[in-house]
Amino acid sequence: MTPRGSGDGAGPGGGRAPDGHGVEGLAHLDDADMAERETASGEAPLRAPAAGARRISWQKWTFMPAFLVAALLATWLWFRGARLDSIAHQAVDNGKVWLALRQHIQLTAVSTFFVLIIAIPLGIALTRARLRRATPFAMAVANLGQAVPALGLLVLLVIWLGIGARSAIVGMVIYAVLPVLANTIAGLRGIDPTLTEAARGIGMSPMGVLRKVELPLAVPLILAGVRTALVLNVGTATLATFGGGGGLGDLISAGIITQRMPVLILGSVLTVALALLVEWLASLAELLLRPRGLEGTN
């Protein structure tokens, strides 16, 4: 036997959440062994949460929305009954809550959009034969970037680009590119070379091989990366408040600064609910968008 058999079923571990935004399923730690890890223990590190979660059970799909509705309802009822002074009123009146929520969703959506149109083409480019040698270098740079705290990055961008949502979005994009990039590369590299060879063998053009064979096969991993980026962005968006970018962070920081617990709790609960909702929707989407025929591969 090879003694490795046991030792390295392991190697899982990817996962970073620069500020506590859920990041699972991310294969970026050591670029060198990325491909190996992807094949060796594909399911554990790369796919999101528990291995068992993939199996759809109606409990799983109904539990989260039910829980969120209940939590929001309870918070709302409690908030209605809470005694608010003028400072607290100032923080939440005039549709400020809705505004913050809308801003938060916008920040998340816009930044995720940019992440996708940057990271996926970049991932594809870095797996083409001509650029393949640059991949370890690009991944090393991206990984090094992970050591930069999100808060510091965001504030530095604000100082550089000025106050407002734009700086926040730039920071969020920079931050969330890595997981999607890493998963795209891992997904494309993990494809059985005999498949691409077969595709070339029956006369497909390089573009055809990419569109008809490589991308569809890499979709599960790319989707996992997208989901990670989305959840990450919901979290980073809370920090936009420190650069005047708005979002639910406004409520939380107002609550902390003014010591008004109702405001703080309202903002926190809304943020948590939004993050869990986005995560839930993303895992749903991930499942529905996965190409048929690959459903059983996890």
Partner: protein, 427 residues
Amino acid sequence: MPEPSGTSTTTPPAGTTGARIHLENLTKTYPGSHAPAVDNVNMEVKAGEIVIFVGPSGCGKSTTLKMINRLIEPTSGRIRIGDEDVTDMDPVRLRRKVGYAIQASGLFPHMTVAQNIALVPKMIGWSRARVASRVEEMLDLVGLDPREFHGRYPRQLSGGQQQRVGVARALAADPPVLLMDEPFGAVDPITRDHLQDELIRLQHELHKTICFVTHDFDEAIKLGDRIAVLRERSHIAQFDTPEAILTNPADDFVSGFVGAGAALKRLNLSRVRDVGVVDFPTAGIDDPLQDIFDLLRNGSTNELLLLDRNRRPYKWLRRGDLARAKQSLARAGTLVTDTVTRDATLRDALEAVLTDNAGRVAVTGRRGEYTGVVDMETLMNTVHELLEADRLEALEHQHQLQEQRHRETLLAQEGLDTGEGGAGGAA
């Protein structure tokens, strides 16, 4: 290659030899299935013998074996080792007294060879010094140079070497009983052959009680003192010596398992040491050329075996060779391509003799040193005698069996129950 403790291997270490194993009505039924996986096995393994469990995959042979050290707890029945009933003993304590070697060695990859071997002696509380010397001794016993292999990790060993270490670990605490679960299943055929020879040699020195699971009938014949041919649910189809099973299979199932070529397989049952190993004129490679010359010219033979400095067979040298090669030993003669050990089977020997154009093969000892030569004539005579003896034995056996059946029918007619286990080695 100096061996520091070469003598320690020739004397069996520290006393303990095999213990009797007794399985009584052993049954295993897995929860959620109504049919038992192992159904009412009765078997007695004598102290110091190798019993092979052989049978098709899924017949429960492995389950039966694992019930002996209670890796699988029996649903019912008793297990006795020696005079002790171990069915209800603390399994951890039991297992420390029973060696266990499995397929692909089961060595712990994060421990060195020495640490792996030292595990059980340490657990049962041997002193540090005793453990250390035991590790060296065990490595030497399985034919690995302690200084070279001591600090290596399993992944730095070949499959065959890993398997040797696996056996060394199983034997380290000198258990009276050794359980082996397809231990040689994952190595290539040539290595497997060597490992089998090694095991036979070890057993000659140690006299453990060994239960050995395999699905390879040839392996069973080669290694077993007795073979238990198992069919589904571990029912014993026949439990007897290899000779008896080959010449007299109990039923169609067994003969199907024995397969074709029983006569050739018979050759696997006898070893080179059982036949006449004859001496052959030899000369050392460092001997003066003139001596070799004289030996060839004056001796009764026209051929001699040239040995290298470690007394290993090196070249066959004929009378004319030296002259033709202009007196140069380096160029004269034909290189020895194949040798057999004293533990090799006659089949191996026959093969070697057949491929050698002069019809003989050199026999070597443990470290490859020359001990004699076997030739075609000796082999032919031996095989002939063997087959003749088998035929007689089989006739007698059949006769006995008929008598026994006769007795049993009589008893049955008298309404007495003789109980089960009639298949279990009634001869």
